[in-house]
């Protein structure tokens, strides 16, 4: 098992030391042939004969190199890398073709993505609220700041002068830490106006929605929490 692992790692490493190993193998094969020629000369062959005989006995240096590569490395991966390098060179050589191909792909992918985002949002995954197509978000653009928040007095004015929408609600991030059962916990919360839940068409499982009387400055703080939080943190106490 360890032998197998060791061999696999060595083969992977050989992939990245290809030239170095090939170079060393060349030197080794040259030494081999030199030794063979020398022995043949000592046996009384002519220098040409000695060389020829040595080469024949060796049996093809190219073949030996191929066998060496197959034995030491991952031939499939090696040829894949070679193909990739070749493809990359070809792309670089014909740069205008590459540019057109890349542009075509980019436009195609871009158009598809844009179209799918719309279809996904509108047709496949609409907001999980009744009449979701009639709910919009409003922001106020400011210099150097698009989609900014709306001040509370502005909200009050908009709500009063509104003739375009059935209702307008405001919300604002109000994350905080709460205690209760177990460790204190950081929770995501929103401050919302009384019409917030009616607009979304969401009703309380237990208790009631915010009343208009609670939707003013100085009113008693009131909280609507998720079922999960109620169970986890307050042990379902009503």
């Amino acid at each position: 098992m360890t032998d197998w692992l060791r061999e696999s790692v060595q083969r992977m490493l050989a992939l990245f030391r290809r030239e170095e190993i090939d170079h060393e193998l060349d030197a080794e094969m040259a030494a081999h042939l030199d030794l063979a020629i020398e022995e043949n000369l000592q046996r009384g062959m002519s220098s040409e004969q000695a060389r020829r005989h040595a080469l024949i006995r060796f049996g093809g240096t190219q073949q030996a190199k191929e066998q060496h590569r197959a034995a030491r490395s991952l031939p499939l991966l090696e040829s894949l890398l070679q193909d990739l390098r070749f493809a990359f060179r070809m792309l670089r050589a014909s740069s205008s073709f590459t540019a057109i191909a890349v542009l075509t792909l980019a436009l195609g992918i871009g158009a598809n993505t844009a179209l799918f985002s719309v279809i996904n949002g509108v047709l496949l995954n609409p907001l999980p609220f009744p009449n979701a197509n009639r709910i919009v978000s409003m922001f106020q653009d400011k210099p150097n700041f698009s989609k900014g928040s709306i001040s509370y007095p502005n909200f009050l004015d908009w709500r009063q002068e509104n003739r375009s929408f059935e209702f307008i609600a405001a919300y604002r991030w109000a994350d905080g830490t709460i205690r209760g059962i177990g460790e204190p916990e950081e929770v995501h919360a929103q401050r919302v106006s009384a019409t917030f839940f009616p607009i979304l068409g969401v009703q309380a499982i237990l208790g009631r929605n915010f009343s208009d009387d609670e939707d003013r400055r100085g009113a008693n703080p009131t909280v609507i929490m998720s079922e999960g939080l109620w169970k986890r943190k307050f042990d379902s106490n009503s």
């Binding site: 061999e7 060393e24 094969m29 081999h32 030794l35 093809g60 197959a70």
Partner: protein, 117 residues
């Protein structure tokens, strides 16, 4: 017609290389190839170049190690020597081959007896 030379079975060359290194001590590729040719009485079909695939395989498995050195007639050559793990492997493989060839021998003998009818 002269008998054709024996093709090497998968794995046999590795075994021969290990055994050669045990009997001769550190040796370069040419020396190993020549030794195998001599011992086999030139009955084995061995392109000397194939020895290098075997050597790199054995090296990767950690059964032999290699270092550049100088040959007896003062040439630079890469010398291979067997490692401790290589010796262990050799004794396992040798036992395996002996068992296998004994079995093959018995099976073949069987065939001759019953094939005479």
């Amino acid at each position: 017609m002269p008998e054709s030379k024996l093709d090497l079975l998968q794995g046999t060359l590795d075994l021969m290389v290990l055994q050669t290194l045990v009997s001769m001590g550190p040796q370069h590729g040419y020396g190993i190839a020549r030794r195998i040719e001599q011992v086999s009485g030139d009955k084995v079909l061995l392109n000397q170049g194939t020895i290098y695939a075997s050597l790199v395989r054995l090296q990767q498995r950690g059964w032999i190690s290699a270092a550049w050195g100088t040959s007896e007639n003062n040439r630079k050559a890469k010398f291979y020597s067997i490692t401790k793990r290589g010796r262990k492997q050799l004794s396992q493989d040798a036992a395996y081959w002996q068992r296998l060839s004994a079995v093959i021998g018995r099976v073949l003998a069987l065939r001759v007896e019953s094939g005479d009818e």
